[in-house]
């Protein structure tokens, strides 16, 4: 008798424990809960959890819509099979996750791992089955429930939220089971989904399915074979690279100037008259303001360069040479911009820090102008083509670089600057040896933002007659060819992401070694 009593208590304790675990997951879903539950993992509990789920699924399937492949004469056998399938499916998935988590540095054991997963699968699975059962009794099909336009479509939101909740629980469970960092968990789940996706796509092509993915890749392959895709990518790349290069030079110089104390005009500043004079000459001569005698040689140089560059514009550097030729073709505009820039730089040198707010404000305003509008405004002075695009893109790329240079330098701790100055560094040495190296990560972050932004805006430059990836988008829209504008959108996105990745790598390379260990 006492033996039996004991067994009975143990039996009740077991069920109570299981119920407690379920309630813990459902009421307090956080990492601490999972870490605590991890201690209580045993194999029988896992099997039991899944058996419960399998039983409910089995009952649902057999009472509502029994599929042909499991139907036998015996109800019990059918139920048994369904329970077995549920268990097997679970363990296969669990094993895949376990192996990938292990490869990514997970440390948990398989029993703990599976128990935590079963504590998500079983309760949430029961909820889903219950939901489907009720829906079925009400005579609703799955399609009707999922359709957001139907009267009961509001349930879609609940289903989505439910999915997110499940995903969150999965994150917690893996993090607790394997003592992993959050990013490792994301990679684990990502690897599973990613490999599933890749397999699915391979299967698509192997089976010769005709859907949007296969059609799109066929389209891209065709464009690639014709060489038009490469041309657009190269045009895009050089447009962005050239504009960002100029923007970095001007933006960093201006950003540095507005961190410096204001300067009094001095005789050495007469140096500024040299570029100013040169630019003024280039600007005024073609306009005939100085008489034809001076205009001729300038126009001649510009024409020769233009012809030379246009002729050489082939291959990888082709689009860059075309850009340059588009620029030398407009000496008057180059001169005008040069004059404006020289005057602005000198004004900033004199004003120094007192101009910082105004400068950042103006740069901010420029960024709020829609790109199409800015391209449009520049059609006046520069007409359409590469020149217009480069000016507009440079102007856009300016702000993040300018602002990050300014903040990066301003954020250098004052005692570091004071120490440098107190040891006898000149202002220029302070800038070159202390302020700019320390600000490099911040400046590079600005460049990164600029580049990613420009990749998007350069697509729009196609509107004013530039060969960029935007061609695919605009032509696609005009001709109502979804494959074409998808191609543009996909390549622009991939382009932006890869540029961001590359610049992230570059940022890391350029960050001084001593600044990496901190933070």
């Amino acid at each position: 008798m006492p033996q039996k009593e004991e067994n009975k208590t143990a039996f009740i304790g077991f069920w109570q424990g299981l119920l407690d675990d379920w309630m813990a997951v459902l009421t307090r879903p956080n990492i601490e809960t999972y870490i605590r539950l991890k201690e209580r993992a045993t194999s029988p509990k896992i099997v039991l959890n899944l058996a419960l789920l399998g039983l409910v699924i089995g009952l649902y399937v057999l009472t509502i819509q029994p599929p042909a492949f499991i139907q036998t004469d015996s109800l019990l056998l059918d139920l048994g099979r369904l329970i077995f399938y549920t268990e097997a499916d679970f363990f296969i998935l669990s094993l895949i996750l376990f192996v990938i988590a292990g490869l990514l540095g997970g440390t948990g054991g398989f029993v703990e791992h599976s128990y935590l997963l079963s504590l998500i699968t079983a309760p949430l699975g029961l909820v889903i089955v219950a939901f489907l059962f009720v829906a079925n009794k009400l005579g609703l099909t799955l399609a009707a429930i999922m359709n957001p336009l139907s009267s009961i479509g509001i349930t879609t939101i609940f289903i989505v939220l439910f999915g997110l909740y499940a995903f969150l629980l999965l994150l917690f469970a893996l993090e607790a089971a394997h003592e992993m960092e959050s990013h490792q968990v994301i990679y684990t789940i990502g690897a599973v989904l990613g490999s599933w996706g890749i397999l699915r796509v391979i299967a698509m092509f192997a089976a010769g399915e005709d859907n949007i993915i296969t059609q799109e890749s066929a389209f891209l392959a065709e464009e690639w074979a014709r060489g038009t895709l490469q041309q657009a990518i190269l045009g895009h790349l050089w447009m962005v690279a050239f504009s960002v290069f100029i923007a970095v030079v001007i933006g960093v110089v201006m950003g540095v100037l507005i961190t410096m104390p204001p300067k009094r005009p001095s005789v050495s500043h007469l140096f500024f008259l040299i570029p100013l004079g040169v630019f003024f000459l280039i600007w005024a001569a073609p306009k005939g303001w100085l008489g034809m005698g001076i205009a001729d040689p300038i126009m001649e140089i510009s024409d020769t360069l233009d012809i030379g560059l246009t002729r050489a514009a082939k291959g990888f550097f082709g689009p860059l040479l075309s850009l340059l030729s588009a620029i030398v073709r407009k000496p008057a505009a180059v001169g005008m911009i040069g004059v404006i820039l020289t005057v602005i730089l000198y004004a900033l040198l004199l004003a120094g820090e007192s101009a910082s707010e105004l400068t950042l404000y103006i740069a901010g305003i420029i960024l709020t102008i829609p790109s199409i509008a800015l391209f449009g405004v520049f059609i006046g002075p520069f007409s359409i083509g590469a020149f217009n695009a480069v000016v507009a893109l440079t102007l856009y790329a300016q702000l993040p670089i300018l602002r990050n240079t300014y903040t990066g330098i301003k954020e250098v701790k004052p005692e570091i600057v004071e120490a440098g100055r107190g040891m006898g560094m000149t202002e220029f040495q302070l800038l070159r040896n202390v302020k700019i190296p320390i600000a490099t990560p911040v400046i590079m972050a600005g460049v990164r933002v600029s580049v990613v932004m420009l990749v998007g805006i350069a697509a729009i430059a196609s509107y004013i007659g530039n060969d960029t990836l935007g061609d695919y988008i605009f032509h696609g829209i005009q001709r109502v060819q979804p494959l074409r504008y998808y191609a543009g959108a996909i390549t622009v996105a991939v382009f932006a992401l890869s540029m961001d990745y590359f610049l992230g790598w570059l940022q890391n390379r350029l960050t001084p070694e001593g600044l990496k260990g901190r933070r």
């Binding site: 701790k413 570091i416 600057v417 120490a419 107190g422 006898g424 560094m425 190296p437 070694e513 001593g514």
Partner: protein, 380 residues
């Protein structure tokens, strides 16, 4: 030598001077601490010497390596600063540069070659008792105390005759601060720099300074004198208040036990017999006596009561002494030790535990009376 003559600083937009008609001279090879309430212009004074702040009026002279007095206001500030060591409270090490590059900052500006910079840096690390592998580390890999040492070493890199230190140990915990102060004083014995040392802590000023300049809240010099003089003869009420009511006790900081102890104490040899010992104690009229071995190493003490009616050698009846004082200890710490044990007399031992003398509270008091009445103790 650093010489300030009628130096005044009035910041633009203010009428009252931050530093008002300041004149004093720091002799070559001495540390002058500048101390005063916050906002008294002590940092301003210091920064005028290397012209991080330009004085409104007055002259400042610095003795260069060639033994010439130079008017700093007539020099190129960049060249001036490269020849004056500069240490600040927040240290300001360059985080993106290794310790070697940090220490080589000024030598690099002076265009030394790399081998010379490296060997100088190693020399400095030796001076600071730090291992050479620190050279290739970055500042963030060092502890606060280590960083501060590097900050001081960096300022000394080009061996400038004059150094400016702005609360160099201000951001360090008390235990490490004490350690660094002692280390620096020991170092100063060798390097003999002329140092202007700003602090807000009067105790630090007394400890570190050969001379102390005390400024009041209006940036005027209230007193410029040696620490002992300032403690024993405060010029006015302001100094008295600033130095604090415990200034008599503070004077104890300046005196070492060695200076006041009884250099010929009454001692017994551990090899003496009990009878002999009792006889000597009777003659001297002592109830207690310290016992030493043949090397004068302290064994303990005996009391007449313990020895009474005993026979044999006295080391059998020797009790271990609860404490003894190192000879270099200052009187303040010594007094504190004395108050902790109820011995009337305590042994003073050298670093090999040999008894060099004894000291009691009466001697401490006598020494204090003496300094107070004459104020003649110039040297620490």
């Amino acid at each position: 030598m650093i010489k300030l003559e009628h130096v005044t600083k009035i910041y633009p937009g203010t009428t009252s001077p931050a530093v008002d008609d300041l004149s004093f001279t720091v002799p070559t090879g001495e540390i002058c601490t500048i101390v005063g309430p916050s906002g008294c212009g002590k940092t301003t004074t210091m920064k005028m010497v290397n012209r991080l702040i330009e004085p409104t009026d007055g002259e400042i002279y610095v003795l260069n390596e060639r033994g010439e007095m130079q008017n700093v206001l007539e020099m190129d500030p960049i060249i001036l600063r490269r020849n004056i060591g500069y240490v600040i409270q927040q240290i300001g090490l360059f985080p993106h540069r290794t310790i070697l590059q940090n220490m080589g900052t000024v030598p690099k500006l002076l265009e030394w070659d790399n081998t010379r910079i490296r060997s100088r840096a190693e020399e400095l690390l030796d001076m600071m008792n730090m291992p050479h592998e620190f050279l290739d580390r970055y500042p963030h890999e060092l502890s606060g105390g280590q960083r501060q040492r590097i900050g001081v070493a960096r300022a000394m890199a080009s061996d400038p005759p004059v150094m400016l230190m702005d609360e160099p140990f201000g951001a360090i915990d008390p235990i490490n601060r004490n350690l660094l102060q002692n280390e620096f004083l020991r170092l100063q014995q060798e390097i003999k720099k002329t140092i202007l040392f700003v602090t807000h802590d009067i105790d630090e000023a007394i400890k570190m300074g050969d001379k102390i300049a005390i400024l009041n809240a209006n940036g005027q010099l209230e007193q410029y004198d040696s620490p002992a003089k300032i403690l024993s003869e405060p010029a006015n009420e302001f100094i008295e208040d600033f130095v604090g009511a415990d200034r008599t006790l503070k004077q104890l900081n300046l005196i070492r036990v060695e200076e006041v102890m009884d250099k010929k104490p009454f001692l017994l040899q551990s090899t003496q017999s009990v009878e002999e010992a009792l006889q000597v104690m009777d003659e001297e009229g002592q109830d207690y006596a310290y016992v030493v071995d043949s090397d004068r190493r302290l064994q303990g003490y005996v009391s007449r009561k313990d020895l009474k009616e005993k026979s044999g050698w006295i080391d059998e009846y020797t009790t271990t002494a609860a404490t003894s004082l190192p000879i270099t200890m200052n009187l303040r710490d010594a007094l504190s030790e004395m108050l902790m044990v109820d011995y009337s007399t305590i042994c003073v031992v050298d670093n090999r535990d040999r008894v060099r003398g004894t000291v009691n509270t009466a001697m401490v008091q006598e020494a204090l009376m003496e300094t107070h009445s004459s104020g003649k103790r110039e040297e620490v």
